[in-house]
């Protein structure tokens, strides 16, 4: 019972306290205006280059918005404990670490889905992309899966924040690279071989592929395999994140550097 309380109540409270982007003053410019204009920018660039159609860039950049939310949401909600000098108190408590940190992942996953829905809807309206109700529901499911994978990756970023100085820089750099490496804006077959290999093991790539599959052909069975791969990648990063948290907690205790910068 206590585990569930820490997971749900503690997770939501910590997320709201530590991820200040959910304040309307920040949410609107960063998670509504920014992704919307990103979609438009790349859609127009695609039209100019004569590469792919608007759907391609609409889906790709909607998913990049999910990545930004997941990386920053989870990264901040873990790493900001150190910045606000509450990390020692948290780690001294007898609460389950799993409940403590996974509880913050749930609101992050849901925020990603909300951001994706807003970006996609507004982008589709402006670019005149029509999506049926059934496809929209399937795309929402794909977005949820990718949001989980990105949040799991965000947990790794947050864990690095227990040792590193600047999580924002790290999250920003990786989220920016996602625009290229995940195939959000460039068809994967145009990337060099080594970059394609990287794209195969990062979150988002398979989610975007699955979403495009759903949008083009509407066959959920074809996309299911890709979504399963995305879930597997998410689980791998989740386990890596938890292991990193454990490692950096141990290192921080051993060297008494939990709150030093």
């Amino acid at each position: 019972m206590n585990w569930l309380r820490v997971f749900f109540v503690g997770g939501l409270t910590s997320y709201r306290a530590l991820f200040n982007w959910i304040s309307p003053w920040v949410f609107f410019p960063t998670l509504v205006v920014y992704p919307l204009f990103q979609i438009l920018f790349f859609a127009y660039l695609g039209r100019y280059a004569g590469v792919q159609n608007d759907d391609f860039f609409l889906i790709g950049n909607t998913f990049v918005a999910i990545a930004v939310t997941g990386f920053f949401g989870m990264g901040h909600s873990v790493a900001n404990e150190r910045r606000s000098q509450t990390l020692a108190s948290i780690l001294a408590s007898p609460a389950s670490r799993l409940a403590l940190f996974l509880g913050r992942a749930l609101p992050s996953v849901l925020t990603g889905l909300v951001v994706a829905s807003i970006s996609f809807t507004l982008g589709a309206l402006i670019l005149h992309v029509h999506v049926g109700a059934r496809t929209a529901a399937e795309l929402a499911f794909a977005a949820l899966v990718s949001s989980f994978a990105c949040t799991a990756f965000g947990l790794c970023i947050g864990a690095l924040g227990l040792r590193g100085r600047n999580v924002t820089l790290f999250a920003d750099s990786i989220a920016s690279c996602m625009m290229l490496v995940s195939g959000a804006n460039v068809p994967l077959e145009r990337l060099p071989g080594w970059l394609q290999q990287v794209s195969a093991v990062i979150p988002l790539t398979h989610g975007i592929k699955a979403a495009r599959e759903l949008s083009n052909n509407g066959h959920f069975s074809a996309a299911a395999r890709l979504l399963l791969t995305e879930v597997a990648i998410g689980v791998a990063y989740l386990l890596a994140g938890l292991a990193l948290l454990r490692l950096f907690e141990y290192e921080g205790r051993r060297t008494a550097t939990l709150e030093t910068f």
Binding site: V26, P29, Y44, L45, V51, S173
Partner: protein, 254 residues
């Protein structure tokens, strides 16, 4: 005032070159955007188009650094508790803030080196400058004009609680409206008049025309006129903000 401007600009340039976030902006962002442009536009097999995309990506990075730096300029001073001291200093607030935005523009100019090197080494974009003198003049004028445009933004966003995030949100709209990677002819007609009053439009054209051949001096002239206009506008905005904040005692926005 001139000494304050020059010393301040020099100080902030040194400071930004030590800042990991700014450095990543100078190196990573232009490489990323130019790579996306190369991979997408590469199909057209036009070296001039790729060179132009490299310059566009560099100006993208310049504007990003200025947009984020200038919108956060007053917010950072607020956080550090130094805004009151700046406002109380015996010189216009615009002169205290201008070095921050100009320095961001100048540091952003480094990104031109990054994109051109990247494009030449990895994508075989031919590096030839048609008019080296005009090119050498166009870069600092472009950086200065973009910095001054950032100063207007700093004066406009001061009463917004999360000004930095508002600055972040202006990046893509300005990239689109100034035709840095996508020609304005592809955009709706009403975007074109907006592009005329935005410094990155003319700065980009000046550097591109100096490199590929064209008439860069007219663009350089427009950049200079816009810079002066921006400075006057920023003075008015900041004086108004200062008056409102002093009379209501809301400098801290708390």
């Amino acid at each position: 005032m001139i000494r304050a401007l020059v010393t301040g600009t020099r100080l902030y340039i040194l400071q930004f070159t030590q800042n990991a976030f700014d450095l990543s902006g100078v190196v990573l962002w232009p490489i990323l955007y130019s790579s996306i442009a190369y991979y997408l536009l590469g199909a057209k097999n036009d070296p001039h188009l790729l060179f132009s995309a490299a310059i566009g990506a560099a100006v993208i990075a310049m504007w990003s650094l200025v947009a984020i730096g200038s919108s956060g300029a007053l917010e950072n001073q607020r956080w550090q508790g130094t805004l009151e001291l700046l406002v109380a200093a015996p010189m216009p607030l615009a002169v205290s803030l201008a070095p921050i935005t100009i320095a961001n523009g100048v540091v952003g100019a480094y990104s031109l080196v990054a994109t051109l090197t990247w494009g030449t080494l990895l994508f075989g974009v031919p590096l030839s400058i048609h008019s080296p003198f005009a090119f050498a003049i166009a870069i600092p004028i472009c950086a200065f004009a973009i910095g001054m445009f950032g100063l207007v933004m700093a004066g406009t966003f001061v009463l917004y609680r999360a000004a930095t995030h508002l600055g972040v949100a202006t990046q893509y709209p300005v990239w689109i409206a100034t035709g840095l990677l996508v020609p304005l002819s592809l955009l709706p007609g009403w975007v074109r008049p907006i592009s005329w009053v935005l410094a990155p439009t003319w700065g980009f054209r000046a550097i591109r025309d100096a490199s590929l051949g064209g008439h860069p001096w007219a663009d350089i002239g427009v950049c200079a006129i816009l810079s002066i206009s921006y400075f006057v506008l920023a003075m008015v905005f900041l004086q108004t903000f200062e008056y409102v904040a002093r009379s209501r005692a809301t400098l801290r926005l708390t």
